[in-house]
């Protein structure tokens, strides 16, 4: 066999090989691509097993990304990307721009379009790779917090899909995008955003530079069952605020009480960088240490949603600044009625929680909440 023939055969083999690879990567599991959801209501419990949340709840598959920190996140991001077809990759991979980073909302994607690729279009293999990435950036193995809270959020949206919300709702309508190419040295971000869940991760120079603005909420606020699990994705946060506010003395409550009424978040989507010049309410530094701990408990339910490698520095900063942080509320301290509202505003931290009117489940309040950072929103960009 002469040299020319060998080259030809090699090229042929390469061609056949890449043919198979491309087949595999575009082979979309139809059962998951439809994002089909089955739901039933029996008494107060509901069962919502969607193929997406079922796949995402499965035990993590092993990955070859043995590195740690941002290098591991980059590796897992690349691994997820490599499971996608070239068309899917171009949908996922965008350039980093503030405009792209700001494209999130508290509305379903059908009412406020998102960038990126939606979970409903991913195959089981692709969802598994997505899962591997998310468990690296979100805390794992804490019930209704971190990654588990994200699944509970998707399960709740699947439930809204089945009870009359329609196809606008459901796990399939949550989008992931990469803004900038995953890199251990330059600027890039992961943005995962859907109806009641938005979580960005911004990296630059091989470190995490921002994990906000982060939006959480859930409808229904009540527990939703999927498979053999019962999720209450955002109930612990509501209870933590109620504990904090009811734990205050009458005088402290009077200082913390805002004169205005808040039926919604003040710094929701589209309200970037508009932090009030003057902080309102009760200064945490004036409180006893046990009451300060209640404030920190509420903060931890946001910050500790993230993997410890991302959360540690942020939590240290917020703890250091705790004395100069303010708590304010409107409505009742029980955080159980429509119109109840609480805000934590510090030198860096900004958290708002709004218990507001139901949309799909009318006359039943549900939560909206935003966590921002005065300087690190969008990684400071």
């Amino acid at each position: 066999m002469n040299k020319n023939n060998r080259t030809a055969i090699l090229l042929l083999l390469l061609g056949v090989g890449s043919f198979f690879t491309s087949c595999k990567s575009t082979d979309v599991d139809t059962s998951s691509s439809t994002g089909s959801t089955t739901g039933s209501t029996t008494g107060s419990t509901t069962n919502n097993s969607s193929s997406i949340t079922t796949t995402l709840s499965a035990t993590a598959t092993t990955t070859s990304c043995a590195s740690t920190g941002v290098a591991q996140i980059v590796c897992l991001a690349e691994a997820f990307k490599s499971t996608l077809s070239s068309t899917q990759q171009s949908t996922l991979q965008l350039t980093y721009s503030k405009a792209n980073a700001q494209k999130w909302s508290n509305l379903p994607a059908g009412m406020s379009a998102r960038n990126g690729i939606n979970l409903g279009s991913l195959s089981d293999a692709q969802l598994a790779a997505f899962r591997n990435l998310m468990v690296a950036v979100l805390a794992l193995n804490t019930t209704n917090e971190g990654y588990d809270e994200m699944i509970g959020n998707l399960v709740a949206d699947d439930y809204l899909n089945t009870i009359g919300g329609g196809s606008t709702y459901g796990a399939g309508n949550y989008y992931i995008s990469f803004l900038g190419t995953p890199s251990a040295s330059s600027l890039w971000a992961i943005l995962f955003t859907g109806h009641h869940y938005t979580q960005p991760f911004t990296f630059n120079g091989g470190v995490s530079t921002g994990v906000t603005p982060s939006f959480r909420g859930t409808e229904p606020q009540a527990a939703v069952t999927a498979g053999n699990r019962t999720y209450a994705a955002f109930e612990q946060e509501r209870v933590a605020f109620a504990n904090l506010l009811t734990g205050l003395s009458t005088t402290e409550q009077a200082t913390a009480k805002l004169s205005g009424t808040y039926n919604d978040l003040v710094l929701g989507p589209g309200q970037d960088g508009k932090f009030p010049a003057t902080k309102s309410g009760l200064q945490v530094g004036s409180l006893s240490s046990d009451k300060q701990a209640l404030v920190l408990n509420a903060i931890k339910l946001y910050v500790n949603d993230l993997d410890a490698s991302l959360a540690a520095a942020v939590l240290t900063k917020y703890t250091t600044e705790l004395a100069n942080t303010y708590v304010a509320f409107s409505g009742t301290t029980a955080m159980s009625s429509q119109g109840d509202y609480v805000r934590i505003d510090g030198p860096s931290i900004w958290i708002e929680f709004s218990y507001q009117g139901g949309i799909i489940i009318r006359n039943t309040p549900h939560s909206h909440s935003v966590w921002r950072d005065h300087t690190a929103d969008y990684g400071g960009n």
Partner: protein, 455 residues
Amino acid sequence: MNGTSFLSNQPTNSNSRLSGWLLLLVSLLLASGQPEHATAHPMPNSVVQLNVHPHRIDAELQIPLFELQSAWGHAVNDSSVGLVARLGPQLRAYLEAHIRPQSPDGRFWTVSVGPMSVHESQNPINGVYRELTAQVQMVPPAGNDVRQFRFYYDVVLHQVMTHTILVSVRQDWERGQLAEAEPMQVGTISLDIVNNRILPLPVNLASGGQWTGFIAMVKLGTQHIAEGTDHLLFLLVLLLPAPLLRAGQRWGRFGGVRYSSKRLLVIVTAFTAGHSLTLLLGSLAARYPEWADLPTQPVEILIALSILVSAIHAVRPIFAGREAWVAAGFGLIHGLAFASVLINLQLDAGPMALSILGFNLGIELMQLFIILLVIPWLLLLSRTPSYAIVRLTGAFLSGIAALAWIAERVSGQRNSLTTGIEEIVGYAAYGLIGLVVLSLYLTWRNRPLIDSPGL
């Protein structure tokens, strides 16, 4: 975001009729404005729509009751039934205290709250919710311009920090903007979050003029006829047998060009005289509130009936020789429908006078344009023996359309026929082409032409 507008809460004009004439006249017609894009705000906002008059502004407020209850209490959302009867005076006082336009010289305007009502509204984000609608009159101090003011408005917002008010101009006659078009956004009033204050909205409306207003009315007139299938159909069907001589109880042969032209001219003039008269009287009557409510439904039914009558006449002469009187008589009815368009604009006397003139001019121009497009071919056709088939087909189809409209307007329910008519009318331009081809073909086939002995 889908294109659904928060501003689309206003009641829409239900009798807008699409027409294929639009295809012919796109250049003459106004393009509709871009719909507003809803923000990510999940709570329903208030809407303030301004109707700018020469010496005052009428504002229509739409306030979601849930938000009003948060600000004002009184369980306005929890028990909204009979709200206006129960709390009318208090509500008026509340609104008047929170709506304070201010002229550049620092003087505040006189604000009075008129009729209020509660109704349901809907958007895709909030679903169904109830809101209060209030008509508010705002008059600047004597000598002050209505087009420049600082709009201090904090209804609901004085208490509910997350509330937003969208202010837009719904009608500004002098700028040629009429209520039929999409409202023009002026701005948003909401909390200045950084400084924790509520700023007034500066309103600076560009000045217009009577000429702009007049031209807008001419356009509205042409548009109204172009879209008013029933008005045109009445006239065209009445003109169908006009070129023919009467032969006993039947229609005979072509009466000659001079005979035809004279009859066409007389019928069209009579129709114009009739509808101009009632357009004038009806619009002027709007000055008197007790007359202002024109009986829309009977007028619409009579218009449909007028088409049926002229369709029967096109089959068999039932009022031959008296067409002018019939055209004038039914013209009076059609004019009342035209008047209701002007009355809905709620204009002051000066603009109203110019509007009657402009609107009527627009109507006549469009009517003339359509007649000039159609009649030559009708005249050509009427000289051929096949005209009877054309005439009977036209009369029969128009009669069915008239019956369908009568049924719709009596019952208040749309039916498949009227929906179908709207669709078919979209192809009117092709119909005209068909008419041209048919008339040319039949004229060519029937050489030598049958001409009246008089010519």
